[in-house]
Amino acid sequence: MGRGYIVEDSVEGYLSKMCEAGAGPVTGVLIGQSSGQRDFVVTATRTPQREESAGAAGSSLDKEWVTEHARQVSRMLPGGLSVLGVFIISDADPKDMLISLRQLVFAVENLISKDRLWAAADDDITDRIALHVNSKTRKAVCRSLDVRDPKSTAKPADWRYQSGVCSCWATVSCCLEVDLLLALPENRTSIESMEKCLKDGLKAWAHQVEDGVCLIDGKKLPADTELTAGQKRNVRQTFTAQLLLTPDGQRLADGAQQCGGSVSLRGAIHSRAYLHSNKPKVNLAEKLLKRDVVSTVAVRVQMLLEELLTEEEGKGNSKEKHWAEQLSLPRRVLCPVKGHGPVCVCDYQFSDEGLAEVTDRLKEMLDLDAAEQDLDTRQELAAEPADSSGPTEPSVETVQEPKRNTYTGVAMATAAALLATAASLLYLQDD
């Protein structure tokens, strides 16, 4: 018995449009939510053109490029949304495309799950979509692959369009404080060492989050309670979550250790997850929200480290014995997907970037046309500008503003006074 995918109407239009373009095969990813009974495909986005190969041999599929795009896309998805699979639009026979699709599906899955800090759960759905659309006939042939087993056969799956798939999806969200202090090993205070340190620290923190108690709208509910029970149907609901944590003594090493330095991660993040409207349960809300909490922090740290690693050469800090630096992590900016109910995608805005860069990335990665005023910047405050009198260590450097390199390699412009804008938007919020 194959899986059944319920697909937002707009996806049909989107895929059709690309059939018309007809310039060789088009690849892309499918985004949505899997549940025990059904899977919902909410949107699709094509793989962006690679600059160097624009107009060149577009007929061969660039596996690395497709998977890297998928990885970037998955970073822009709040909880409850994930990359569900890959599509290829071409005029070739679906059977011929199957090998390519299979390769892409597995490669995408492996890359995305590599950096995950949370463990897979037993009730996670491991089927992914391999969709082929014939550019001449517009016919969509959908198959599903079980990514746990590289040798599994592609099973036929149902692909059905429907309107308003996510119009009544529920949203669970919270604002959460992070406070991690980690020791850097002696004589190894490089970025790579900091990266390993942060990864271990975040992993331990992720366990704490996983084991934490989750309250929904102030209540601790049994896991299999229906979240939307007793509510009117076809009403969009929002829930506020609270997370209670306890330090897990077993996992982190006890005692005294000699260190070369320390790394701390402090501040707050906004986390949210979307839930399908087919009687979602409390344990699903808890699972998806907790995963988003962990992902959003991990992704930002990764982004910062990626930036630091590319500009490490420029630093002369390693000559000094004692120094300190404060780096701000990018803030989460949300963007509603028009016609998709409450569903938003997100991006991370570094403090030296403007909202224009965000809309550019949304267009490039998710093929989303958004204007700056559409963006929701109220959920997280932008970082404050550097204050050299801040930390009390003997020799303090001023705040570093890592330059953000976009996906296509275009250097970012330095920020305008976006902080003022963000602050004024804050005071205008109506709740």
């Binding site: 209540k219 944590l245 005294a256 701390s264 402090r266 930390p391």
Partner: protein, 472 residues
């Protein structure tokens, strides 16, 4: 403190608090300053509004630092600061246990009602209404020592039937703050260089209604090195200085904490005691384990009864804190006798019986415990030993091994009337070969009261009366 007819509710909150600090130098005074500062930070955390108590096995969550007027004090909403502690029970889900509930029901109906315990977990809420300051990463490069450990907070508050949650939580908070201060003291006192001994809170039940007292000990330091601390505690609580109350073995076992080693504790508490005209009960004090035939996969049926009685006695000394040595096996008992020259080497591994004299010798050899021997030339004389046995249970309160004829038993107490001379003996029988089923053991009299006719009237008996070492 508590009315014995209304035992009240004990609220116990436990949870780890993370202790982290950076030491820029290893100078003693600097270390002390940093440690104190870190404890101060932890005390602020305990006073913060993010502190949460969750009631185990229930949906109840309390924010004890939130203003009493606020409706956000607890979840579910029905719970307010004015809710009575005992009313919390209705929210707690209790498991159904099959066979053990029968035993518990039987023993509960015969025991004095004990206070019920509500367990709470200490947690921190990390969510807050936003927006909040953005995420920043701070990196410092500077050689230092990084000290990290987890403090196992464990606070207890005894409430009566009229106490509200508001009052109880306030007291729990006070206890938490006080415990952090105690932990700070203990940490600083026992610190060696940059090594921190984890301060561990333990609860002790003191006699004469002094109730539960919490003491913080450094985890890695053995009892033998903490005598000065114990002495100070004995003086503070006006306890006699000849018997231990504050050794780790004396830690209070909460009603819901079961023993994991499989032995029954104090089965005599489930037995109905006789009432003699003008008679009084003189029973063993403290806790012992019931050792009997066939336990520990050792088939000693027919020869091991005195060994088992000796094991019961050793278990008493261990659980009262007089020794850390675990209960000896048959072989270890035999080896001890060889070591003191009482038996030949071939004794070890044999199935030879032992008597009271051997019991006395082993207690001396393995536990440094001395014992008095009482000799009775015929069993009928035991009826006249009421006063001596009563005195033994009053002053020493240790289980007594009695051997004679072909049998050995353990005497756990006597019921004796000074005026009529009537006497009964509370016997723990090591000849039982079944499983640790309290119902069977008490129903069938394997632990039970016997009259003077229980003894072989013509045989002679030796009793070994172990004496408590005068130590704390």
């Amino acid at each position: 403190m508590s009315d014995s007819s209304e035992p009240g509710t004990i609220l116990r909150v436990r949870g780890p608090l993370e202790f982290k600090c950076q030491l820029d130098s290893t100078v003693g005074s600097h270390i002390q300053k940093v440690i104190s500062r870190t404890f101060e930070t932890l005390r602020s955390r305990v006073k913060s509004e993010s502190l949460v108590f969750t009631v185990c096995d229930s949906p109840v969550v309390v924010w004890p630092n939130r203003g009493k007027q606020e409706t956000l004090y607890a979840s579910p909403e029905e719970i307010t600061p004015n809710t009575l502690c005992k009313d919390l029970q209705q929210w707690i889900k209790t498991d159904e246990q099959e066979s053990s509930s029968k035993k518990n029901a039987k023993s509960k109906s015969k025991k004095i009602p004990t206070a019920s315990v509500i367990n709470l977990h200490l947690m921190m809420e990390v969510t807050k209404p936003g927006p909040l300051p953005a995420l920043t990463l701070n990196r410092t490069v500077q050689k230092h020592h990084f000290l990290r450990t987890t403090l196992p907070m464990d606070c207890v508050v005894h409430t009566t039937c009229n106490d509200t949650i508001g009052v109880a939580c306030e007291r729990l908070l006070e206890e938490l703050l006080h415990q952090l201060c105690e932990m700070e003291k203990v940490s600083l006192q026992h610190m060696k260089g940059t090594t921190l001994q984890v301060p561990e809170p333990l609860h002790f039940l003191l006699p004469e209604s002094k109730g539960l007292v919490t003491v913080v000990y450094p985890a890695g330091v053995p009892d033998s090195q903490l005598e000065a601390h114990r002495k100070e505690l004995h003086q503070r609580f006006e306890l006699p200085e000849d018997r231990p109350y504050f050794r780790r073995a004396n830690v209070y076992r909460f009603p819901n904490e079961t023993y994991r080693d499989g032995y029954l504790r104090n089965p005599h508490l489930a037995v109905t005691h006789p009432s003699l005209e003008n008679g009084k009960l003189y029973l063993v004090q403290g806790i012992y384990s019931y050792h009997h035939y066939m336990q520990d996969r050792m088939d000693d049926n027919g020869w091991g009864c005195a060994y088992r009685s000796l094991q019961t006695i050793c278990s008493w000394f261990q659980q009262q804190g007089y020794t850390e040595r675990p209960v000896p096996t048959h072989k270890e008992i035999q080896q001890a006798l060889v070591d003191v020259g009482d038996k030949q080497g071939s004794f070890v591994g044999s199935r030879q019986w032992i008597g009271s004299i051997e019991v006395q010798a082993v207690l001396n050899q393995l536990l440094s415990v001395t014992s008095k021997i009482m000799f009775v030339s015929q069993g009928s004389e035991l009826a006249s030993k009421g006063r001596e046995l009563a005195n033994h249970f009053i002053t020493e309160g240790t289980p007594v091994m009695i051997g004679g004829g072909v049998l050995a038993h353990t005497i756990l107490g006597v019921a004796w009337s000074e005026t009529t001379g009537q006497i009964r003996y509370l016997i723990l029988d090591p000849h039982y070969t079944g499983s640790e089923d309290l119902q069977v053991i008490t129903d069938k009299g394997w632990c039970g009261w016997k009259g003077p006719d229980f003894w072989d009237q013509t045989a002679y008996y030796n009793l070994c009366l172990p004496q408590r070492p005068k130590t704390i």
